[in-house]
């Protein structure tokens, strides 16, 4: 947990840029997609099919995506920095701190960052009127879990990354496709049949389902326990592999 303090210190100096984007992103997305695109969808009869107006239906999905983005970014750049650019990992290891503490500190700090993103985003949802006060607290746990489900595997990936080009590749080849095809903008039933099972295998779809169901008070596609279990599994397996890789790379 002492490692979390270090991350907080660094954040104290760099928070301005990241806080602005934490607020600006939900506002921009909800304006463009929820209100702009949403008015078309609603006129075209989309709200009948979705059972809600488009903004209300879309916003929880975007929330889950936002935590995914934060968690992914925070698992790539700081880990790469600790391993290669700044090397503060090796530095900390000359003290009683162990690689396990570094991993715990990383996930601990990341949870706080993801929680912050979720709180800000759902606050913006309230001002847009897409969710009421009574439900807003319910969407925070599933969306934070969605973020952490990404943090696990992405941290493991970053732990063994040698080249910087591998960082943007994650966004290009993993995050962007998931963002588009995980049921955020349209139900995955609209996808060709062969693509649906792919969505089941990714943590984002489970996160979107669970967050949306909590927001709208509707049933989830699968049993909620299944959604939770898939995301917890991604987090747990990813974190365990990351723990091994940290040790392997830093203790030589």
């Amino acid at each position: 947990m002492l490692v979390v303090e270090r991350h907080a210190r660094v954040y104290r100096r760099t928070w301005r840029g990241s806080v602005i984007s934490t607020f600006a992103n939900p506002i921009l997305y909800l304006l463009a997609m929820g209100l702009g695109l949403g008015s078309l969808v609603d006129q075209g009869g989309g709200s009948v099919q979705l059972d809600h107006d488009y903004l209300t239906w879309l916003a929880p999905g975007l929330l889950a995506a936002a935590t995914m983005m934060t968690a992914t970014g925070e698992s790539l750049y700081p880990v790469m920095a600790g391993m290669k650019w700044n090397k503060y990992y090796s530095d900390a290891l000359s003290t009683p701190v162990s690689t396990h503490d570094l991993v715990v500190g990383h996930f601990g700090w990341l949870t706080l960052r993801v929680l912050f993103t979720a709180v800000v985003f759902s606050g913006v949802m309230v001002t847009f009127g897409s969710i009421g006060f009574s439900r807003v607290l319910l969407v925070i746990p599933p969306s934070v879990l969605a973020g952490l489900a990404f943090a696990g595997p992405v941290t493991a990936y970053a732990a063994r990354l040698e080249k910087e080009t591998g960082l943007s590749a994650v966004f290009r080849f993993v995050i962007t496709p998931l963002f588009l095809f995980s049921g955020i903008f349209f139900p995955i039933e609209q996808l060709p049949d062969w693509m649906e099972p792919i969505a089941y295998a990714t943590p984002l779809w489970h996160g979107v389902e669970l967050t949306r169901a909590s927001a709208l008070g509707i049933e989830t596609a699968l049993h909620p326990a299944v959604h939770i279990a898939v995301m917890v599994a991604f987090l747990a397996v990813g974190a365990a592999i990351a723990n091994r890789l940290f040790h392997k790379r830093l203790v030589v």
Partner: protein
């Protein structure tokens, strides 16, 4: 007979197939200043990292404070002050924060750390840079900060890997003074250096390493007596006119031809000079000095002083 603080037997370190430390034995007593000398790549830093419980031992036995680094790494590291060869400072933090967070890694209470930081910044002469980021500091300043930081937990044993490399003479003397005072307080110091004068001044006992092995061990004085003579005559010749060793035969106990000068190892420099005068040699300059650790180093590790 006190228990040794650090005890290594057949200590070995491999990196893949490469043998960096090859079955070395040594022990460090409490309160002593112990030195590792040796050319680049000899395995000094690798040995220091094993003692520091950050690099696992490949083979052999090692105890630090009577503990096994493999089992009790955090307990050992909690009592160490480590100055690694490359300054591993946290470049995303300021000078103050580097000291503060490092202290927190030792789980020290915040007020205690704050008090110590004031004193340490004073010692490192970095008080004015307190709130600056570490990155733009000069090399010597980073070195001073790294050394100051290693003292934050009031260690029982310090591992100093080339601590004075890159320091100006003033800072070097300030460090020597500090190390001397730490020794007075009973802190044990293990130090590597490429400066022979430093080793001679600071170390009670030292080992010379070469290619992963220990090739000699003793106090600076013992090593000089054993591997060098009392006095050394340094001769310089005009370029290209360095005479063959046969021309110098019989002048001294041992003759060492270096690229830029020739060294005559003798117990009686006066006599050697007299003998020298009788030979028609194109000598450019002559210096007589007492033998130093550098002569020992040259003899043991093969003539060239690599730095």
């Amino acid at each position: 007979m006190t228990e040794p603080l650090v005890c290594a037997s057949n200590l070995t370190k491999h990196f893949g197939d490469f043998v960096a430390v090859d079955s070395v034995d040594f022990s460090v007593k409490p309160g002593e200043v112990f030195g590792f000398l040796g050319p680049n790549g000899a395995g000094k830093s690798s040995t220091m990292k094993m003692i520091g419980a950050v690099s696992p031992v490949t083979d052999g036995a090692l105890t630090v404070f009577g503990l096994d680094p493999d089992q009790d790494g955090p307990a050992i590291r909690g009592r160490l002050g480590v100055v690694p060869q490359d300054n591993l400072l946290d470049t995303e933090l300021t000078v103050f924060e580097n000291l503060f967070i490092y202290g927190r890694y030792f789980d020290l209470p915040k007020p205690v750390i704050r008090d110590r930081i004031d004193e340490l910044l004073d010692f490192a002469q970095l008080g004015e840079r307190r709130n600056d980021l570490v990155e733009p500091l000069s090399g010597g300043m980073k070195r001073r900060l790294t050394i100051a930081r290693a003292l934050i937990n009031q260690p029982d044993l310090m591992l100093l890997d080339e601590p004075t490399t890159g320091l100006d003479p003033q800072a070097r003397h300030a460090l020597w003074d500090r190390l001397y005072r730490l020794k007075q307080q009973g802190v044990t110091l293990i130090i590597t250096t490429h400066y022979m004068d430093e080793a001679e001044q600071l170390c009670d006992r030292l080992v010379v390493m070469d290619k992963g092995k220990i090739v000699a061990e003793g106090s600076p004085q013992e090593l000089i007596e054993r591997y060098a003579t009392r006095e050394v005559v340094e001769l310089r010749f005009p370029i290209g006119e360095t005479p063959g060793e046969d021309k110098l035969d019989g002048l001294a106990k041992r003759i060492e031809a270096l690229p830029d000068r020739t060294l005559l190892y003798t117990d009686n420099a006066e006599q050697s000079l007299l003998d020298l005068n009788e030979r028609p040699l194109p000598i450019e300059s002559t210096i007589v000095r007492r033998a130093t650790l550098e002569d020992v180093f040259l003899r043991l590790t093969g003539r060239t002083l690599v730095d």
